[in-house]
Symmetry: C4
Subunit: 220 residues, 4 copies
């Protein structure tokens, strides 16, 4: 579908693309848990048998939690970049559709790792899946940085640099996971816990933000 004169700038507002993105991530993140399920509804007779059964699912549980957080981080990465978007052109639209297409594959990759956690290949495929997502966020950022008519004035050179730096982690962790998978597939997966690190290490920038904000909008 062409971006025609009649539809021009306002024709591709960002709100519905955001709605589709939020919807797809919500469904994908919820479907993850569907794979933490025993094949067939077996009826266990004692609590002991149930404990045995659930502990066999331990790996699936961990994979579910990791993939949920991973998808949430990519949703967040998309969210932060789209904050600066004012209009969507054809190229930005296609980057987004491919981003969603690859994001929806994460439950499949998760499933592969959950079922074949003893093999290296699924861990590598999972990492590649995430690296492609990271690449697409990079492409989107580059396109936004080069298209000031699509963005708000807030997207300064400074902001682009910061956004690019925060994408680094999304590339480094999967790469480290592939490296670690040669030693142990399971270790490769547990490395993704590192994605949560920035949540607990505020760092210099975070403190700056807080001070600046407090100054801007004094609490009542």
């Amino acid at each position: 579908m062409n971006e025609e004169p009649g539809t021009d700038a306002r024709g591709m507002g960002k709100s519905r693309i955001e709605a589709l993105t939020d919807g797809i991530f919500a469904v994908a993140m919820t479907l993850l848990v569907l794979d933490v399920k025993p094949p067939g509804h077996l009826r266990l007779e004692t609590s002991g048998a149930l404990i045995d059964h659930l502990s066999n699912l331990e790996h699936s549980f961990v994979m579910y939690a990791i993939s949920f957080v991973v998808l949430a981080m990519f949703w967040l990465g998309h969210h932060l970049q789209f904050h600066f978007v004012r209009r969507v052109d054809r190229q930005l639209l296609w980057i987004n559709l491919v981003f969603l297409l690859i994001a929806v594959a994460v439950p499949f990759s998760t499933n592969l790792v959950g079922d074949h956690g003893h093999l290296q290949l699924p861990v590598v495929l999972y990492a590649v899946n995430l690296l492609v997502l990271t690449l697409l966020l990079f492409l989107q950022l580059r396109h936004l940085a080069a298209s000031p008519h699509l963005t708000t004035p807030d997207l300064t050179r400074e902001a682009v640099k910061h956004l690019r730096r925060s994408l680094l982690l999304f590339g480094v962790v999967p790469a480290a996971s592939i490296a670690a998978s040669f030693y142990s597939p399971r270790l490769g997966m547990y490395l993704y816990v590192l994605l949560a690190v920035p949540a607990f290490v505020p760092g210099r920038i975070d403190r700056l933000t807080r001070v600046k904000t407090d100054g801007d909008q004094p609490a009542p």
Copy 2:
């Protein structure tokens, strides 16, 4: 992903986090009913056989209805607290992601109780699942109360106290369910009907609200 200077306050508006939350709860609440399904598509030949079959599903139906209402109550609890949010910082974001992660596990817990209603363990796991959700709402409320720069001025000390008190029920009912499950697992589950009580016992506060509101905004 870091909360950078360039993205600062406005970078994490609450609207998309609300959209993700609403989407995830909508999917999780709808998926509950998928578990009220016979394994395999059997074709019953008489109405009598169908009645027999459906009455075997009675426990699943009740569990579905209870979990639907339980999830709705937690969605509502989240909704009421987020009403006061103006900006989302990194900590609030992570509380929310973990909250969603645990909420999505409720269909799994429900499934466990539905399939093994005669055991105590699933009832305890279900209650623990809900207690963790309650704990996260408590943490969120504490964080909001301590971070006036994130909230609207409406979140007075009074409002915090009221919100905290209304969370009590979310903690007391699962705790009572665990206690009751020692006597009878089924009784433990049926206790959750108590969560609906506040809907039918208006109480002092409710009447106050109504008067105050009628005064504020007279009906046409």
Copy 3:
């Protein structure tokens, strides 16, 4: 969760309840098609065999289309009433949650009719499912009509009468379906096509509306 002084009127805006409703209906309406699927992935070798197979699914297809439209009509009925809502009190909230709980059961009822179309019982259960939904919309309308502080001034006595009348069809068609199911279960189901009639018979009121609107907002 109580409606507390601190949260009062604005605490329960209608936007997020609408978002949850839209999400749940979207998921339920999409899940319907999941039941139009052969059990197991059989691989048919000729187009002839595939045609045989698909024509066996004819009943499922029709049921899917009927239930999709039925859910859409109830979503629309909810939508039209909520247009007049300004604030949500505890009672309105509970009517909505129970409405959603019963709406999510429609895919299950559809499944029953699809699998046991030769029996009368599923047709009756399906009709009862819809009658309960209609009853809840009636209760909601009565509550709104009696609570002017919750509604916009647009909800005149006239508008209430019209909304009530349009609910009639939602009650008459399922009742007729039950009656017809004594004669033939299949006929009972096909009666739901009547729900689409108002779409093609504009009637007096519709023409009035059109005139009035054209006068209000002349087209450019």
Copy 4:
């Protein structure tokens, strides 16, 4: 449900119909990937066996990607037309509901092609499914063009012509797919890649738009 005097113009705003549409497309697009799954959870012992298994799924993967993009294109087509909608009347509403009903069938058609890629019939059914969607977008556009009281003034005769022309591709590609399927079913499916062409061939119109827009809103 009638469009009554009391509910008139404002009764059918477009925002909730857009929300339902976005939700249904999000679910349908995510469900596509659920079909890229081996029947039963087999546990493969070597990476070689897994590679064999995954390459058997190659056709499913390609079908998933094609259908995802196809659904995205139709979502986009709907989005562009709805940009011009100001009010929704009964006829527009029904066009939309049927559009959604047919769109939700796409995962089923995809599934058919994925499972029976060697037969011609599924490819034809898939193309028919898309042709019906295209027809509905045509009907919607015709209705909008003839109902200025429903649209914004932006929907000029020029804009209608451009929207209609961009729908052509949606009709030509499925038709070409049917023709090609007589030669090879697989070729018929791969033709859908053509839908992505406009994304990479900007053409005269696109350049015009860009100039015009740059003039309107100079980048900061």
